[in-house]
């Protein structure tokens, strides 16, 4: 319990610090939002009036407090470009990125972990060498290249999947799944490769441990030794990597969302930066920060469930 409270306290502290940094860094950026909205030729009176409306005439600290109060009321401000509440825009975009992210994480786990076990078990055999080379390629080759190849093979030549675009889940479940499958796979490929290599190493490290010999001396089969003893120990460090991957994926993939023309957060981020839509950019940076901190928090709690040595420290 103390452990959870402690983690919760650090969680809140980090959030506060992050919000302060984000807010004040955006204050330092050149360019007056009122100027951007009204254009260069706007009159001074107009600008002053708009600044008053936007609250830009107040002190920075006062505006920070306003901003944070707004956050708690789900008021992220208004987008300069779209003239819409930022929250409305995000609510539109988040389902796309989340669907993409969750699907690719599932693919990463379903494909990465069994292959990691396989490559560790077949150490020294040709299949392990082949897999090893493939993971090397998976990490080295940029994801947009995989995107193009998959679009070409499965989209254009075989016509199994659509080549671009997003279908909402509520409209057509299988259509959505088909539309998201290729981009999720592309995002997953490098993550799968990383997980395979990482898990292989942790499994081989664990396999040399004394407790594995104890398990073998009990007469357990290699299968039981792997799944009952080695794997749980080997997965502990992998969870950290997986947590980072999840945060990264849910933050939106700028490249893949562009390759597959998906209206997700990655796409939005690029758009809003190029149109200097500060409220939108600021909210998205905050969203990504919150995401990373939250997932780290969950990973910490997961550790506690899996590893009794951490449970004891609580």
């Amino acid at each position: 319990m103390r452990y959870i409270l402690y983690k919760l306290a650090t969680f809140v502290a980090t959030m506060t610090l992050v919000s302060i940094i984000i807010f004040f860094v955006f204050q330092l950026l050149p360019g007056n939002p009122a100027h951007i909205i009204l254009g260069i030729e706007a009159e001074q009176a107009q600008i002053q009036q708009l600044e008053q409306e936007l609250g830009l005439d107040k002190q920075a600290t006062e505006r920070y407090v306003d901003w944070v109060t707004g956050l708690f009321q789900a008021d992220l401000g208004e987008s300069l470009k779209y003239q819409l509440p930022v929250s409305d825009i995000l609510v539109d975009r988040i389902p796309v990125t989340f669907s993409l992210g969750i699907l690719s994480i599932l693919l990463t786990i379903i494909i990465g972990i069994p292959l990691g076990i396989l490559i560790a078990r077949t150490k020294g055999k040709w299949i392990s060498v082949v897999l090893s080379i493939m993971t090397q390629l998976g990490i080295a080759i940029p994801s947009f290249w995989f995107g193009f190849i998959l679009i070409l093979v499965f989209g254009v030549i075989l016509s199994l999947f659509p080549t671009y675009g997003y279908v909402p889940w509520s409209e057509d479940f299988f259509g959505a799944l088909r539309a998201l499958f290729l981009p999720s796979l592309v995002i997953a490929i490098s993550n799968i490769a990383v997980i395979i290599r990482y898990l292989r190493n942790t499994i081989l490290d664990q396999a040399n441990m004394e407790y594995v010999r104890t398990a073998r001396c009990k007469g357990l089969t290699e299968r039981k030794i792997m799944y009952g003893h080695i794997l749980r120990n080997a997965l502990i460090p992998v969870i950290t990597i997986l947590g980072l991957t999840i945060a990264d994926t849910l933050g939106g993939s700028i490249i893949i969302e562009n390759v597959f023309a998906l209206p997700g957060l990655g796409n939005l981020l690029i758009e809003s930066i190029s149109s200097r839509d500060f409220p939108l950019v600021q909210s998205m940076v905050l969203y990504i920060a919150v995401l990373v901190i939250t997932i780290n928090f969950i990973v910490d709690l997961l550790y506690k469930v899996i590893d009794p040595r951490i449970r004891a420290k609580g």
């Binding site: 441990m209 004394e210 407790y211 010999r213 104890t214 398990a215 073998r216 001396c217 009990k218 007469g219 357990l220 089969t221 039981k224 009952g228 003893h229 749980r232 120990n233 899996i306 590893d307 009794p308 040595r309 004891a312």
Partner: protein, 331 residues
């Protein structure tokens, strides 16, 4: 004597390196009889641990049995398949390792880790398994066994963990238990307690025990017979009392001389000059020859046959028939 439970004959175990095979165990032969405690003593690198791994069928990947046999209950273990090994391990032969701190899985409760052996080899109900585990935990001297059943290894002290490891080895009542330096990693006071536990096991259980140690003092306390190994060879074997009080092989003599005790107070402690030859430095002949004060020409060319001198078996040219008469002339 009765028929041996375990009989090792002419065992060679080699490590495979890029530049060839090197025998780490050479023509090792000894027997373990029912209900006896056999000690194996020797310096590190003499092959005592490797011998025990060969018996368990858990040799490292780059080592294998080159020749010879390990006969257990009339079956040659050397030719067995992995599946057959798995039936024997933990059930008929078990092993206690020297690292109590790392030989338990940190993520599983100790009770589960003991009961796992029964789960593998017996068809007890969950309740029976737990009862038997708790009863054994009490037997090996763990207080509050019911509460400890659910604890994790990191919550226990080194001595308690070693008792858990011993319980894992005992739970299926195996006929042969191999204890590889079971007290080496422990504090002296805990060492004494664990040795007492082994004496208890010896008296109350119908198991044979192979007790591996580099410490003759420890061997003296628990063993009936002892095998002295040097650089992969058995150099002398016999009853503990005979070996300790009437050692025949120059190496055994040196080993005993180098045990500190109160009669040697104030004197410099004897050490055998030189070092154990490395695996790749071993030549034909007796591996101890270079360190031996009694070496003869033949020692460098031929390893002596095992001969009986009084009550023990010795492999030394000092005692082979032709040479026996010269013993008195050698300094």
């Amino acid at each position: 004597m009765s028929t041996p439970l375990l009989s090792i004959e002419n065992l060679d175990v080699a490590f495979h390196f890029q530049d060839g095979d090197y025998n780490a165990i050479n023509h090792v032969s000894f027997n373990v009889y029912p209900n006896e405690v056999l000690g194996i003593v020797g310096e590190s690198g003499c092959g005592k641990s490797l011998t025990s791994k060969a018996i368990m069928g858990i040799l490292p990947e780059n080592a294998s049995v080159k020749q010879g046999s390990i006969t257990f209950r009339e079956t040659n273990l050397v030719t067995m398949k992995e599946k057959q090994w798995q039936k024997i391990r933990g059930d008929a032969i078990s092993m206690i390792s020297q690292e109590p701190m790392t030989s338990l899985n940190p993520l599983l409760t100790v009770g589960k880790q003991i009961a796992e052996v029964l789960k593998q080899h017996r068809s007890y109900s969950k309740k029976e398994m737990k009862e038997k585990t708790i009863a054994l935990m009490k037997e090996v001297g763990l207080p509050r066994a019911e509460a400890l059943y659910k604890s994790y290894p990191h919550q226990l002290s080194g001595g308690m963990r070693q008792r858990i490891v011993i319980a894992i080895a005992l739970i299926a009542s195996p006929q042969l238990i191999i204890a590889d330096e079971p007290t080496t990693a422990l504090d002296v006071t805990i060492q004494a307690q664990i040795l007492d536990l082994f004496k208890n096991i010896k008296n109350t259980r119908n198991s044979s025990l192979i007790f591996i140690s580099h410490d003759l003092g420890v061997i003296r306390q628990v063993c009936d017979r002892v095998v002295v190994m040097y650089a992969g060879r058995v150099v002398e074997q016999g009853k503990v009392a005979d070996i300790l009080y009437e050692p025949k092989h120059p190496y055994t003599k040196g080993l005993i001389q180098s045990i500190p005790d109160h009669t040697k107070r104030g004197q410099e402690l004897y050490t055998i000059p030189g070092n154990v030859p490395g695996l790749k430095e071993r030549k034909r002949g007796c591996p101890f020859a270079d360190r031996c004060a009694h070496r003869m020409d033949i020692c460098h060319t031929h390893f002596p046959d095992e001969v009986y001198v009084e009550n023990q078996a010795v492999s030394c040219h000092l005692y082979t028939k032709e040479e026996v008469k010269h013993v008195s002339t050698i300094h």
